[in-house]
């Protein structure tokens, strides 16, 4: 028996074991949060709700049991999720490109920012639910209109965070570029843009979450063509199909978490290099 076993934890763990522990430390809190939600769920189902009102929050195992094994429920739900994922990713991609582009233009001069920033603020302050019916009337009720809703809702954090980042390079660094007679493009690509990357990633994480919301809001209002998750939510609600409704909510939550995680990981991979982690 080694010393490590005696006190119950490894004193000199192998690389693989240490990586496992590190992964556990990362995933642990998330699993604990999920466990907490499930615990509250069951508490409400069996303790708070009386049996005749239990349909309001069916137990998790019932939700999973009636949906996961039933292709008649799962097949359309997964199709709908695919549709929603497509809308969200397309909307996000457009919002990222537009947002960064808009911020780059604003960062070029003080007056460009003064002229252009109010439009971004107006876009942000119009409640998307007020605008969505109008978008439907103008653009139809299909894929394109849903993407537009998604872009409008995800755009502002991209603009605001990118602009903040582009302006975060210190004055002395700008002086250095001025003294080296840097061109405007050199200043943008070698100073402002890399300096903006941490903020851009913050914007990306926010925009990714919002793009999922935007896609579902679009689905919910626009019913033409293949329904998205938002469309199904509406149908399940009307039919009071609680098990399927909860499954759809779970799937969208998982999609949102996945989006967030992908961008958080991308953030760590890129910005982590500045601290000397990862690639040389």
């Amino acid at each position: 028996m080694s010393a490590a076993d005696l006190n119950g934890r490894p004193q000199n763990g192998t690389g693989a074991r240490r990586r496992l522990v590190a992964a556990g430390a990362k995933v642990g809190p998330l699993l604990a949060a999920v466990a907490g939600i499930v615990a509250v769920w069951y508490l409400v189902t069996y303790v708070v709700l009386s049996p005749e009102r239990r349909f309001l929050l069916p137990p998790l195992h019932q939700v999973l049991g009636t949906t996961l094994g039933n292709p008649n429920v799962m097949a359309p739900m997964l199709d709908a999720l695919g549709q929603t994922v497509g809308v969200a990713l397309s909307g996000l991609a457009i919002a990222v490109a537009l947002g960064i582009g808009y911020a780059v233009v604003m960062a070029q001069s003080g007056w460009a920012e003064k002229v252009l920033y109010p439009y971004a603020v107006i876009l942000q302050t119009i409640p998307i639910l007020a605008l969505t019916p109008l978008i439907g009337i103008w653009m139809g009720y299909g894929f394109g209109a849903r993407i537009v809703v998604c872009v409008i809702i995800a755009l502002f954090p991209m603009i605001a965070n990118t602009l903040f980042g582009l302006q975060s390079a210190r004055p002395a660094a700008h002086d250095l570029f001025t003294l080296s007679r840097a061109t405007r493009a050199q200043r943008l690509f070698k100073l402002q843009f890399p300096a903006a990357l941490p903020s851009i990633f913050t914007g990306l994480r926010n925009a990714a979450g919002l793009s999922v919301i935007g896609a579902i809001v679009g689905d919910f209002f626009f019913q033409q063509g293949l329904p998205g998750v938002g469309g199904l939510l509406r149908i399940y609600t009307l039919r009071l199909n609680m098990d399927a409704l909860f499954m759809a909510i779970i799937l969208t939550a998982l999609f949102g978490v996945a989006m967030f995680s992908v961008f958080a990981a991308l953030d760590r991979a890129v910005i982590g290099r500045w601290y000397g982690r990862g690639t040389p």
Binding site: A173, L176, R273, G276
Partner: protein, 243 residues
């Protein structure tokens, strides 16, 4: 001896009405290292911004006879997404130097400031002193005729600061650029320089110009010699009278 930098009767007033510098005349020749000491707010940093062309004078004239001028900032001002080597390479990169050439020169400059082996480290992995060394390497890589220093060691701890002073004067002995160095520290000014210029409080004026006799390279123990103490006393007295 060619005068690399000449400030002739320079006045700088800001639009707010503040007069930072009033009729300052000063010159730095090749092989001279001139330190400027003065109380806070006497326009020392403004002097450097004018000499480098970052700011415009409002009176008088500035003449720079240098093909290459470099500037060392108060803080290391490194780009934190670049390794030490790539930070030193930056200036050559901006000027369109061929990659192999600028990389070799950056490596030489890092070797010169004692950072061999730290090329791949990013700024956040380096100590304050090492970051400032990278910054000095970045300034030297352009082989400047004129090197401007804006209180580069002000933020460093005392031990690091003394070591950096020793290193900088030996680099000066080696490279023989014309140096203009801004500092708060009288002993730093005397130890590093061929001349110490004393400025008054706002508006900044030159009130004394004191030559420093010793040749380079200067040993660190010079700071404990009686002659050194006498000269720092003289500079301090000039400062005291006018602040």
């Amino acid at each position: 001896m060619t005068r690399t930098l000449v400030l002739d009767d320079v006045t700088k007033a800001f639009p707010t009405g503040t007069v930072a510098l009033e009729r300052v005349s000063l010159s730095v020749a090749a092989g001279e290292f001139v330190s400027v000491v003065g109380p806070s707010g006497c326009g020392k940093s403004t002097l450097l911004r004018l000499a480098s062309g970052l700011d415009e004078v409002t009176g008088g004239g500035i003449e720079v006879n240098a093909t290459s001028t470099s500037y060392v900032f108060q803080e290391a001002t490194l780009l934190e997404w670049r390794s030490a080597l790539r930070n030193v390479e930056l200036v050559g990169e901006l000027r369109g130097a061929p990659k192999a050439d600028r990389r070799r020169r950056a490596q030489e400059a890092l070797d010169l400031v004692g950072l061999s082996g730290f090329e791949k480290q990013h700024p956040r992995q380096l100590s304050g002193g090492m970051r400032m060394r990278v910054s000095i390497a970045r300034a030297l890589v352009a082989e400047p005729d004129l090197a401007l220093f804006d209180e580069p060691f002000g933020a460093l701890d005392e031990i690091t600061r003394l070591r950096m002073q020793t290193e900088l004067q030996s680099l000066f002995a080696l490279k023989n650029f014309a140096g203009l160095f801004i500092t708060h520290s009288v002993s730093e000014a005397v130890y590093l320089s061929t001349r110490v210029v004393v400025m008054s409080g706002r508006p900044g004026r030159v009130v004394a110009d004191i030559p420093v006799p010793w040749s380079y390279p200067r040993p660190p123990e010079l700071r404990y010699e009686p002659e050194f103490a006498a000269l720092t006393g003289e500079v301090s007295a000039a400062l005291g009278e006018h602040s």
